[in-house]
């Protein structure tokens, strides 16, 4: 903690009778000050260190692990080492030499023994469809074949006689690969090794990214539309009323996300409250109940509801700082209510709108739970595909690449938010 203030034992500098010269005294004072500052810096760092170390292990290294996994290509160089070594000399045009085929046969034998060959096969299957079945078929018969291996392998399956599988191995023989990122951007390599777009029927991710961004923007827009007037009301009401109304904003904010999503399922489903009311009012017939859920509408409504407090709260805290006398001044100087609002009030709330929008947008593009439960086929976000690749298709490289791209986008927005608001000023609740 604080250093005691150094009091010179031999009086003030320059006092007659002082044994030290003034210069010495000043420099020792400086040294002590430096020492004190160093100690304080150390104390501060020591206080932060435990948490930093904790987050390093529990969060930051896992993030690094994911980034690494999006480019990691260990399967091919590690499981097929001989093939990778031999194929380096191949020109990539005609079929490879016998030596490459012999190396492949040896690798498949070794890989069958260690049980790793399936991993290389799965990895190659992402590059050339059908590679897994090719490897499985070959693995079953590998013990029975004899040299020359080129003829023997092509005899097992004629796909060994096509250059595409060899081109893929040659291209992906390094320890790192860009192919997960290419896949995440709907790109692939053609026979010449150039990057091209995948056939239209297989294009998924670009459209998905666009949909995620578009829907997040729409949700952000909706929260501004609904949140701005409410924040204005809250900021201008006397405290005892606004505190009461604030509870209506804070309660949803504090309610479990799953609860809020469940309520929307309950309300929007075809046998739910909204449809029942519409039928009761006679606006729709019983057999033409509206499909409000498991589509984009469901996702938009539920997410707008969930994210609205994140817009209202920053707006409120900005609006609270604007003195009402500004608007009165504008009005008394002859501005119409509209002019006064647009020219005087609105410009002062831009920072709040910006902060709220970035916050809502950041939260929206990473959403997973709500789209998964109420989104159906058309209301899915990029996060849902990451989860699908993690849990169902087990293509972890692609999940990591999609995740890294999303992460990059979010971090850029976070930097903007930081510039705009400053994380020190971030408020909760």
């Amino acid at each position: 903690m604080a250093e005691p203030i150094p009091v010179s034992a031999n009086g003030a500098p320059g006092t007659p009778g002082a044994t030290d010269t003034p210069d010495d005294d000043v420099s020792s004072l400086k040294a002590r000050l430096r020492r004190a500052e160093r100690r304080r810096r150390l104390t501060a760092m020591l206080l932060v260190a435990p948490l930093f170390a904790f987050l390093l292990v529990s969060f930051l290294i896992p993030m690094g692990d994911m980034l690494l996994r999006s480019v990691d290509n260990w399967q091919i160089p590690n499981v097929l080492p001989n093939t990778v070594e031999r194929i380096a000399a191949w020109d990539g045009e005609a079929l490879p030499e016998e030596a490459v085929y012999a190396a492949m046969a040896a690798d498949i034998r070794a890989g069958k023994e260690s049980g790793e060959i399936g991993k290389a096969a799965t990895r190659l299957n992402y590059e050339v469809s059908g590679a897994r079945s090719l490897f499985n078929k070959t693995r079953r018969r590998i013990e029975r074949i004899e040299p020359p291996y080129k003829a023997a392998l092509i005899d097992i399956d004629r796909r060994w006689g096509q250059p595409d599988i060899w081109q893929a191995i040659k291209r992906e023989s390094g320890p790192y690969t860009a192919s997960y990122y290419l896949a995440a951007a709907d790109l692939t390599y053609n026979a010449e090794g150039e990057v091209v777009a995948v056939p239209e029927y297989r294009q998924v991710y670009v459209e998905l990214f666009i949909r995620t961004i578009w829907m997040s923007l729409a949700i952000t827009g909706l929260t501004i539309l609904l949140g701005y007037p409410v924040a204005y009301l809250l900021a201008n009401l006397p405290l005892r009323y606004s505190n009461l109304l604030m509870i209506l904003v804070l309660l949803p904010f504090w309610t479990s996300l799953l609860v809020r999503t469940t309520t929307w399922i309950t309300i929007l489903q075809s046998q739910g409250v909204i449809n029942d009311i519409l039928v009761w009012l006679g606006l729709i017939a019983t057999d033409e109940r509206l499909q409000l859920i498991h589509n984009k509408i469901g996702t938009m409504v539920a997410m707008t509801h969930i994210l609205l407090p994140f817009m209202i709260l920053p707006l409120y805290s900005v609006m609270k700082t604007i003195p009402p006398s500004y608007m009165r001044a504008a009005r008394s100087l002859g501005a119409t209510p509209l002019t006064a609002f647009v020219k005087v009030y609105l410009p002062q709330t831009v920072s709040g709108v910006g902060a709220g929008s970035i916050l809502v947008f950041i939260l929206a593009i990473g959403y997973y739970i709500t789209p998964a439960l109420v989104g159906g086929e058309t209301g899915q976000f990029i996060s849902n595909f990451i989860a699908r690749h993690m849990l169902v298709s087990l293509n972890w490289g692609l999940a990591a690449a999609l995740g890294s791209m999303l992460l990059a986008g979010v971090l850029v927005l976070y930097l903007v938010y930081n510039k705009l608001v400053g994380i020190d000023n971030m408020k909760l609740g």
Partner: protein
């Protein structure tokens, strides 16, 4: 006052003003309505998600506690409640102690690379949960922490930490440093100063940070899907699979209970906020 117009307001202004208030009322209904709707529905005597005729006519036969009974008699739900509390309490304690210490360090003007460190410490709150979940799943699997209680607790602590750091830092910003000097001047040791002067002043921030950390863990459903195994099944995970597989009104009963927990937490927070404002003399009370 905003709800009343001055007498000289034109008819157009009056119409506009009423429309504005109506719009705000509609937004408030949109915010709170869905949460209130599930409360009566959870007492439905029939397995429907809408109001039955009996419920609308307030016939007592239309209401029952069967879904609450169902919930309390179900082994899986009780098991997941126990797990949820274990994970949430342990990770709250960890996040609060680590986060408070770090916030004290971050509040010092001598802290080098302050902004950078702060951004790193807050990042678990910013990074989309699915990405954290994927990264944690990869890494925790490689060090045998996946599908264990320590793994889930580690992950939830990381998620809770930013809230504690933010709330405690916010408390420290309005903190009068002279109080520390005064305490030392009067002969208190740094430890005494910490426990007798600093801690009581930052307690509201620490408590609200802890509540945030608790609710974050208690409500978390993305990371548990990846990091938790069947033995670590929590309430949100149980709800999640309930909603996905076969939604029964038991979920609404659980949801109602969770809303009650939120209301309790919100009340505590509000009381804390008022106390702080009163102590700092910002609010008339």
């Amino acid at each position: 006052m905003i709800t009343k117009l001055p007498p000289y307001a034109s008819p157009l202004e009056r119409v506009w003003h009423s429309a504005y208030l109506l719009f705000c009322a509609a937004v408030f209904v949109f915010l709170i309505g869905p949460i209130l709707v599930i409360v009566p529905l959870s007492f439905n005597a029939e397995p429907y998600f809408t109001f039955t005729k009996e419920m609308i006519s307030f016939d007592p036969d239309g209401y029952s506690l069967r879904w609450y009974k169902d919930f309390l008699e179900n082994e899986l739900w009780l098991f997941s409640i126990k797990n949820s509390f274990i994970v949430a309490i342990v990770s709250t304690i960890l996040a609060t102690s680590l986060g408070t210490l770090a916030a004290l360090g971050l509040a010092s003007s001598y802290m080098p690379y302050r902004t950078l460190v702060m951004s790193l410490l807050i990042s678990p709150m910013i990074v989309p949960l699915i990405i954290s979940a994927a990264g944690m799943f990869f890494f925790y699997s490689s060090i045998d922490l996946a599908h264990t209680f320590p793994g889930v607790i580690l992950a939830h602590t990381a998620l809770g930490v930013p809230f504690v750091v933010i709330t405690v830092t916010a408390t420290l910003i309005g903190f009068d440093r002279n109080l520390i000097r005064a305490s030392q001047n009067l002969g208190a040791s740094p430890t005494t100063t910490f426990f007798k002067v600093i801690l009581p002043l930052v307690t509201p921030g620490v408590v609200s940070g802890a509540l945030f950390a608790f609710i974050t863990s208690f409500d978390e459903v993305v990371i548990v899907q990846f990091v938790a195994g069947p033995e670590q099944r929590t309430v949100p995970l149980q709800m999640w699979s309930g909603i996905r597989e076969q939604i029964s009104p038991t979920i609404l009963a659980v949801a109602t209970l969770l809303v009650c927990i939120s209301i309790a937490l919100l009340t505590v927070l509000e009381l804390l906020r008022r106390r702080t404002e009163r102590l700092r003399g910002l609010s008339p009370g």
